[in-house]
């Protein structure tokens, strides 16, 4: 199965599992940096991305997600196309004005079932192995 390998990104001597993925909004593809986060149920993005792209993110399904400090943030969920390496697929993607972290988060929905993800921090790389035919 195809495997896509990414380097960890160094931040003042610490390593972060940040990868660049593609996001399709309306008819345009946008490269975005995302922190791979198994603790996030969905891929969560700063609302400013949608605002800048002219995408009406508030038309999505509104839900609330609990974050690390125990509070809940409003998130608007959409089914959008993502791209990792050459592979494109639909995933639930949420936009929030109150993400509370600097990073966009690449969460579990679809991503963690489509790929076997291996965090190899010692080797400073993480790999996404396609889990097979997803139709």
């Amino acid at each position: 199965m195809p495997t896509h390998v990414f380097r960890y990104k160094p931040i003042q001597g610490r390593l972060a599992p940040i990868i660049t993925v593609g996001l399709k909004l309306q008819e345009n593809w946008y490269p975005i940096g995302t922190y791979v986060d198994s603790g996030a149920a969905y891929t969560l993005l700063h609302a400013g991305i949608a605002q800048g792209a002219g995408f009406n993110y508030r038309a999505g399904r509104r839900t609330s997600l609990q974050v690390g400090d125990g509070s809940f943030i409003p998130v608007y969920l959409h089914d959008l196309e993502l791209q990792i390496g050459p592979e494109r697929f639909l995933a639930k993607v949420g936009f929030s004005e109150r993400l509370g972290v600097a990073f966009n988060l690449l969460g579990r929905d679809t991503v963690f079932t489509r790929f076997k993800i291996c965090f190899q921090e010692h080797q400073r790389m993480l790999s996404f192995e396609s889990e097979g035919d997803h139709g």
């Binding site: 990868i19 660049t20 593609g22 593809w29 946008y30 490269p31 975005i32 800048g52």
Partner: protein, 74 residues
């Protein structure tokens, strides 16, 4: 989008993120053809600039973290 474009942006980020964290903490930057071409305070502001320029391929717009942001991931 072309996979090689994503790959090039990802490699560039791996090579330069340390420098970006020093120079542009908490800013949102647009990266294109191996350099920072714009900085702003929000993704919306930067994408609006990108739309005006019509740059291709689409620049990578990235919010530069601070090291303490690593401790606040969900």
């Amino acid at each position: 989008m072309e996979a090689f474009v994503l790959r090039e942006y990802d490699e560039w980020l791996a090579d330069h993120l340390e420098e970006l964290v020093r120079r542009y903490p908490s800013k949102v930057v647009a990266i294109h053809e191996g350099q920072v071409v714009y900085t702003g305070d929000s993704e919306a502001e930067v994408y609006q600039w990108v739309a005006k320029t019509g740059l291709t391929p689409m620049p990578l717009v990235f919010r530069i973290p601070r090291v303490e942001d690593l401790d606040s991931v969900l």
